[in-house]
Amino acid sequence: MIEAEGITKRYGDFLAVDDVSFTAQAGEVIGFLGPNGAGKTTTMRILTGFLPATDGSARIAGHDIFNEPLAARRAIGYLPENPPLYPEMDVAGYLEFVTRIKDVPRARRRSAVESAIERCGLKDVHRRVIGSLSKGFRQRVGIAQAIVHDPRVLILDEPTVGLDPIQIREIRSLIAALADPGKSEARTIVLSTHILAEVEAICPRVILINQGRKVVDSSLAELTAEGQSLEDVFARVALRAGEAA
């Protein structure tokens, strides 16, 4: 579903992402970890086609993001670091607009919007103007926007930031349900987060990057096999980087 090969991004002299490669199969949920400024957002922006890579290539659902950008983007649902919302629009109108630019067939638009509203707990606010919503609700609209066209690949940049504990639980079970291979079509999900408990709860696989380099890529079970917690692993990597710097 996702095949990333040697993705590299330079901002001038600064190497933000350095030769990151990985592949992800349908049904996988990958926790994308790393200290602040590690390059998580930058990598996600490259995978979604928002930023061009300085080097490397990526395929989404079999489509090269540089050579077949439209087909690749059709397969992606993306929640950016800051949810991309129009404050003056109401929730339902906004989601309807998203279905149109994401090529959802006309006949399915209404049900797609209703289902996203339902699944993200937006029923009570779907006629409200987005600008008047609280931060958590705006985050939910951001998630709804990412899943409304039922994409096969979901890239979520810190999806649970600002949500209340109950909503966090609901979003986590939503993510698990989307990836569940028992469903007709399994999704592939990459999510970045700073909440390690979240990774332990829903991400069977962990990719840890630090200073732009991939330093860990393994299953959660393997990582924590020797009795160490995910936090230990994270701290060790981050600290080692701190010493090197």
Binding site: F50, P52, R74, Y78, P84, Y86, M89, I101, K102
Partner: protein, 282 residues
Amino acid sequence: MRHVGAIAGRELRSLFVSPVAYAVLTLFAVLAGFFFLLSIQGFRETMNYYQQIGQFDVLEQINLNNQVIAPFIQVMWIVFLFLIPGITMGLFASEKTNGTQELLMTSPLTMWELVVGKFVAAGAFVTILIAMMGLFPALLFLDADTPILGWIFSGFDLAEPDPEGLQMLAGLLGLWLLGLTYAAVGTFASSLTRNQLVAFFLALALLLILWLLSVVADLGVAEGAMGTAASLSTVLTWLSTSDHFDKLARGLVDTRDLAYFAFMIGAFLVLTKTSVESVRWR
């Protein structure tokens, strides 16, 4: 191009829930009414002058198209100069501040669909403005014994002449094309910055330069420049919007002037596309 409607429709809906659209519409209606009355006033003074000096043959030739409608359309460019940048300033700048460019640029849209969608939204607004101001000269076409014509010609010993409909439509076409060109320039300005105020003044500056190019060209000629400068001044005059617009406003439809506006709109949309794309290549 099938996403153009989605982009333009969303833009227009956002425009019409914002106070900017209504401020512009109100200001435009007031200014159009004011300038229309001013044109009529000027017309009456001209007639008065010829009546007093007894040049009745000139008086007979005076007509509403050249003395009222054309000056009215010509003066409206200055209203467009200030109002259209107000409409276009948010087109791309607000996508950057909302972070919604990240949604648009990761959706299966082409860059052309995005740019054209934005331009179509601004163009639709310009069309509404033209329809609104067209109502004023349309009043002159009401039956000759309606109050307005009676008032205009009151105190003159004249048959009330009928205005020419096609000539007026040609003038409105000219103003419409001018408005679309301004919308394209404003769209470009908005794509250059994330600050709406900067986009507004940038558009204003570009439009003024575009208008004044012919003045610059005239200055060059007046200073007795040489052959190369003469051809340069031809180019500058051609690039300037003023002459092309003036001809159309007076009702002279020339395909060369139509081609000029088409060229300018196309050129600024290409520039906009390049500028929006370059965001990716930072």
